[in-house]
């Protein structure tokens, strides 16, 4: 580094690279482009919590249905493998997943090994610059298949958006212990366009419960 600029009271040391490839040699790199039937999504959230706390929520596989959309069951099947069940409307999709890397408080990577869905992903947990909570970055890849199609046709939600919403739910869980929701709530007659609008607004996807317990006192 040159010494043209000496006064940088709060500057971090120049990060060379990080997981999920947001930075390469100190330079921003855009997410991978979709091609050959592969969809990519990369999304990140700054969370008022320690990276370890966010990791712990994510790594608690059996509890994932309480904060990831439409996932109804995650069952451990081995030391590194698990079985996933997703229900959209009356359609059920199942697959097996294997953890490829597990660095507590830092990173989890996985891929699907069998079943109705082909996906792979990585989630990075790091301290945000100057100690402001955690940065959680998810990089996920899907092949167009039953999973992606079900999301798009049944729920009217792009599978990429589902990844973004799930990270939003994780943030809400880590920061507040609950996920914001409005259904069911009082309303007058919705009329005929109501249902259509509901799916347009993304309100057809049930918000995960955020908890297994009763909410009233």
């Amino acid at each position: 580094m040159s010494d043209a600029l000496k006064e940088k009271p709060n500057a971090e040391s120049l990060p060379k690279s990080n997981g999920a490839a947001v930075l390469i040699d100190g330079h921003y790199a855009p997410p991978p482009a979709d091609k050959d039937g592969k969809l990519w999504v990369r999304t990140s959230a700054r969370i008022e919590a320690e990276p370890q706390q966010c990791y712990d929520i994510w790594r608690d596989l059996e509890n994932i249905p309480s904060w990831q959309e439409e996932i109804v069951e995650v069952r451990r099947t081995g030391e590194k493998t698990s079985h996933w069940v997703m229900r959209s409307g009356d359609k059920t999709i199942e697959w097996d997943s294997e953890i490829l890397a597990d660095e507590p408080g830092k990173r989890i990577a996985w891929h699907s090994i069998a079943g109705d869905a082909q996906n792979a992903g990585e989630v990075i947990f790091e301290k945000a610059p100057t100690g402001r909570g955690a940065f959680v970055t998810v990089l996920q890849e899907f092949r167009m298949g039953k999973l992606a199609t079900a999301w798009e046709t049944l729920i009217g939600r792009n599978p990429k958006q589902a990844v973004i919403e799930n990270l939003r739910h994780l943030k809400a869980m880590a920061e507040t212990g609950e996920i914001p929701r409005i259904e069911p709530q009082p309303h007058g007659q919705r009329g005929t366009v109501g249902e259509m609008k509901k799916s347009l607004y993304g309100e057809k996807v049930p918000v995960p419960s955020g908890t297994k317990e009763r909410v009233s006192a």
Binding site: Q161, K171, E175, T176, I179, H187, G202
Partner: protein
């Protein structure tokens, strides 16, 4: 329960709907004792705010008695009397920690809609479109209030409901507008709009040290109200009145130190510029009518401050940004960071520094609300503020 529902543009009905229920651990159910209709509700009534859906329960200014609490609610119990802020905030995200409560990260279940329109989502609001959270509102007999540990302000004194009701929105909104105006002792402040928000902006400007406040509107009863609390008034609709000239005349040619736009996107105008905006809005080439915003940018002095509590929703045309740059002005705006102001303003009411009931003109039942929306929009019957008692029944004539 009974609730006032939005059923389409210019169509509001009082209907019987289901009671709300606790959905999350930090929720409370409030039995509403007083609620109000706001200038912001007109933007919904007139169809300016997208993502309303037929059947949505309206209302964001309400107070009442705690009926039931979720299991994580620790500082409220059944029977407590509370005023509820219209912005919903979690209290623990980075924005809440900075006191930017209306920018809360964790209270809009439809954040993706607002992200698509604005880049990022603000907090959820009661009764104010699906883009802003889709929460059922408070022109009803009961409401579900999320994050009840953080929002509702407990009223422990025996002040009547009406004296504290406006802590739910318009008093803090007027106050934040005056704070955003960066008033220095003796400054001259111009306020467009003498509705409830304008009234409290005028009162707050004086509290914060303004020497002179100039209030602009066309409705005589509102101008009178502004004079009653010490403002000089200008009727922009009077023949031969030009607002910019009037403001120069009243400031020795220098312009007001601060300008407050308490009108927002439905500003009224009868001249050609207004027609231009109405036609563009009708053709969907523009969503808002920024008539006051344009005037305020022109009127404010060099290096002055423009504070904008009036709501804007979408795309504005012909905003004189060159004038803003050329004079080096500061602009501050946004939904009110309610939670920051409620307690200090309650103290001012308790100490008798202000009695907010002076703006009330109508007290009605829920069943009368649909008709009142029309009167409110047309500013008939000298209406200045409508308060609803959701449990009152119409007196037999």
């Amino acid at each position: 329960m009974k609730a006032v529902c939005w059923m389409g543009k210019s169509k509001v009905e009082t209907l019987t709907v289901a009671d709300p229920q606790i959905l999350n651990p930090h929720d409370a159910i409030i039995k509403i004792t007083r609620t109000a209709i706001c200038g912001s509700d007109l933007h919904l009534y007139d169809g300016f705010i997208p993502t309303m859906e037929a059947g949505d329960v309206l209302g964001h200014e309400f107070m009442g008695i705690v009926e039931e609490t979720g299991k994580a609610v620790t500082n409220l119990k059944r029977g407590d009397r509370v005023v509820v802020p219209f912005t919903i905030a979690c209290g623990s995200c980075a924005f809440c920690k900075k006191q930017l409560w209306s920018a809360c990260d964790n209270t809009n279940p439809n954040a993706h809609l607002m992200e698509a329109a604005y880049g990022y989502s603000g907090s959820g609001l009661f009764g104010y479109s699906h883009m802003m959270g889709g929460y059922a509102g408070g022109q009803a007999q009961y409401a579900r209030v999320p994050f009840a540990n953080v929002g509702p302000l407990k009223i422990e004194s025996d002040l009547p409901d009406e004296k504290v009701l406006f802590l739910s929105d318009i008093f803090p909104t007027g106050y934040m507008a005056a704070e955003n105006a960066q008033i220095e002792p003796g400054d001259t402040v111009a306020v467009w709009g003498c509705g409830p928000v304008g009234q409290f902006a005028i009162a707050s400007a004086f509290m914060l040290g303004a020497g002179r406040v100039i209030a602009i509107d066309r409705l005589p009863e509102r101008l009178q109200m502004a004079r009653s609390i010490g403002a000089i008034t200008v009727d922009y609709s009077e023949e031969d009145v030009d607002v910019l000239t009037a403001l120069k005349d009243l400031t020795g040619g220098m312009g007001p130190d601060s300008c407050i736009d308490a009108v927002g996107l439905e500003a009224h105008s009868s001249d050609l510029k207004g027609l231009y905006d109405s036609v563009k809005v009708a053709l969907l080439l523009e969503t808002d009518r920024p008539i006051v915003l344009r005037q305020a940018i022109q009127a404010v002095r060099k290096g002055g401050t423009l504070s904008i509590p009036g709501v804007y929703g979408g795309l504005l045309d012909k905003v004189p940004f060159g004038a803003a740059f050329g004079k080096g002005i500061t602009m501050k705006m946004g939904q009110t960071n309610m939670h920051k102001y409620m307690k200090p303003l309650l103290n001012r009411i308790q100490q008798g520094q202000i009695d907010p009931t002076y703006i009330i003109s109508h007290r009605i039942t829920l069943d009368e609300a649909p008709d009142m929306y029309k009167i409110w929009r047309d500013k008939k019957e000298n209406v200045t503020k409508i308060v609803i008692d959701p449990w009152a029944t119409k007196q037999a004539a």
